[in-house]
Symmetry: C2
Subunit: 380 residues, 2 copies
């Protein structure tokens, strides 16, 4: 690994930061990455998935495990307030979760694996779109072009403001929460506001569903059965004061440490909405959106991460509880033995999604070395 | 009263029907009426209020009571589906409450009082805008130009589909409900959807306010303390599934038979919203809109209406309970002895606010004769 690689990765990171693209719209980002992979990184195979995802494959001369490393590259609908040279040139869109950095780490790995080929096994570098809305990982895992890749292990990281720069944050078992968002549609019937009894007004059903959902919460973070329903959005009726409302919607995000807990919570929430709505004479329709599986850390893979951190003499920090955010890499750890871990972005780094956040370029090298070491550890 | 007057009033009614204007936008309607009053009806005084209201005054040679008769002239945001010659020429706007007819009755009265002057007393014909949104009567009663009119009695009618054509519908005491619409604004604080406990989410407060309001209802129509809160509109948060909601609104229309009951209900609803909201750490703001006083029928005036109906050998129908709709003439019966009554539009006439409704021209003459007789009765 040379200084040139990390200088180039930093330049790429800043280029991506300056040209951010929202989830499912990463056309130029994908084009930039494909171009650099083709012209600078000579992968054995380059797969272009539908909707901008890319896999670059590197093979060693001897057979071995296939290890997939994933980095995402979508930005957020947040107006950047930083004034540095590489600030976002697109109003209202910016890289406020550091996915510009995650993708650049994978580029540095591609350069490294091209310069010094693997001895054994295979590495798949997965450049993933649309993490923020939960569409990216799902799209790739369902893409027929993904079927042949068949990784033995999957690994990903997230940069973590608030933790010491370069520290490695790890946890056995669940690392990030499972999340899913329910949309409850209640169809009643409008009537004259003077005669609500002649229609079917959803107001009381909405109140009862709200209370039933919030009563279901198990908010103790140390409880393995932790689960919470968060009220996101509701709407009912129109501002016509002569009309009793006849339609309402509730949107809630559900969250749990475990996939099996959220699956049961989903069923319970559907059933509560249907029972309450039908008690009030309403037609109930349910939709789901923005589903995230929990990231379940496999013991072999997280051990390889810990060993890599120790080998590179990095501070390691063990989490007691999972992170509460959803991360769509969970769909990969649900299907393949895998792990997600964190790298500290510095204790004074602005929080993720804050308008002044910026990915710290110093950790590109740290992350690249850790991933490279994890690959080596998993082959032995 | 001549056939010519009623033919002209019918022509005016159809002209107004063809050129409907929404509440507070009745510029051309007002111009048409002023022009006809000036050129055909020679009132002793013609007052033009702000926002399109008009009063035409007729005086007898002897002193006597001053009697104000009110007819409204605003239309509704409803697309007409009728195909007759005088159908609305404006998309999405039509006279679906018959105010075109109410104004034309007042025009016929003006013609009549011009042709055959009063013996004694004064008649004020009040052509009123913006009844539907409760702004018209309020605007006129607060207009300095209204102060000098000082009526002894006030009278108005509404045409009533579902009742026999030409029948006179009356009731002692309250004739239409008091209504007022409350807007409860709950200001909390957004937070990450994974950490609702770090923000102030209004969902539970909204559920509790909904239940408190609906629990307050006294829906028995025969109870003089009848009152209902009808859920009209609510909104909370945005469809960003990563953000716990931080703001919500509830819009309710309150309704009661009596002004004193609704005044207390308003106070109770304000207090419930403030207590519940503040319990949940929210800033509570209250606004009111579309206020309608109950129409309270004075015994002398409603007796004069009944006597007029009997004199003209019209069927009279006594209501057991008030109508539940609000009618902004209530602000006049709150301040002056007065009465509101109904004239049947026919049992097969489409309901008010229905897209196929049309004011029945046959009752212009009936209504004109009743009003004329009421004036005479109140002078003796």
């Amino acid at each position: 690994m040379t200084k040139e690689i990390f200088d180039d990765a930093t330049a790429l990171r800043r280029h991506l930061h300056q040209h951010p693209e929202l989830s499912c719209q990463e056309k130029e980002t994908s084009k930039t990455l494909i171009n650099k992979l083709k012209t600078e990184c000579a992968p054995h195979q380059l797969i272009e998935f539908d909707h901008y995802g890319i896999a670059a494959t590197y093979k060693g001369s001897q057979p071995g495990k296939t290890i997939m490393i994933r980095g995402d590259f979508d930005a957020l609908p947040i107006e950047e307030i930083n004034e540095f040279e590489h600030k976002s040139i697109y109003p209202g869109v910016s890289h406020k979760c550091g996915h510009d950095g995650h993708a650049s780490v994978l580029y540095a790995l591609a350069r490294t694996l091209n310069e010094k080929p693997l001895e054994k096994g295979t590495v798949i570098l997965l450049f993933q779109p649309a993490e923020e809305n939960g569409e990216g990982a799902k799209g790739i895992i369902n893409d027929p072009k993904f079927a042949d890749l068949a990784p033995d292990y999957v690994v990903a990281l997230h940069n973590l403001p608030g933790y010491p720069l370069h520290s490695v944050v790890w946890k056995e078992g669940p690392f990030t929460a499972a999340a899913n968002s329910i949309i409850v549609k209640l169809k009643g019937k409008t009537s004259h506001a003077a005669e609500p009894e002649k229609g079917f007004n959803p107001a009381l059903a909405m109140a009862e569903i709200t209370q039933a959902y919030l009563d279901s919460n198990v908010p103790d973070l140390t409880d393995p059965d932790f689960k919470i329903a968060t009220p996101i959005y509701t709407t009912m009726g129109d501002t016509s004061y002569g009309v009793s409302a006849g339609y309402g919607e509730l949107h809630y995000t559900l969250r749990a440490w475990k996939n099996e807990v959220i699956r049961q919570f989903e069923k319970d929430c559907e059933q509560m909405a249907r029972e309450i709505g039908e008690n009030h004479g309403l037609i109930v329709e349910i939709e789901w959106t923005q589903s995230f599986f929990a990231n379940k850390n496999n013991q072999t893979v997280i051990d390889a991460v810990k060993a890599a951190a120790e080998k590179h003499e990095l501070q390691t920090i063990q989490r007691d509880t999972p992170f509460k955010w959803g991360e769509d890499f969970g769909i990969f750890t649900e299907k393949f033995p895998g792990a997600m871990f964190g790298i500290g972005s510095g204790e004074n780094c602005p929080a993720l999604h804050n308008p002044d956040y910026d990915f710290p370029d110093e950790i590109i090298e740290t992350a690249t070395r850790i991933f490279h070491q994890v690959v080596s550890n998993l082959q032995h």
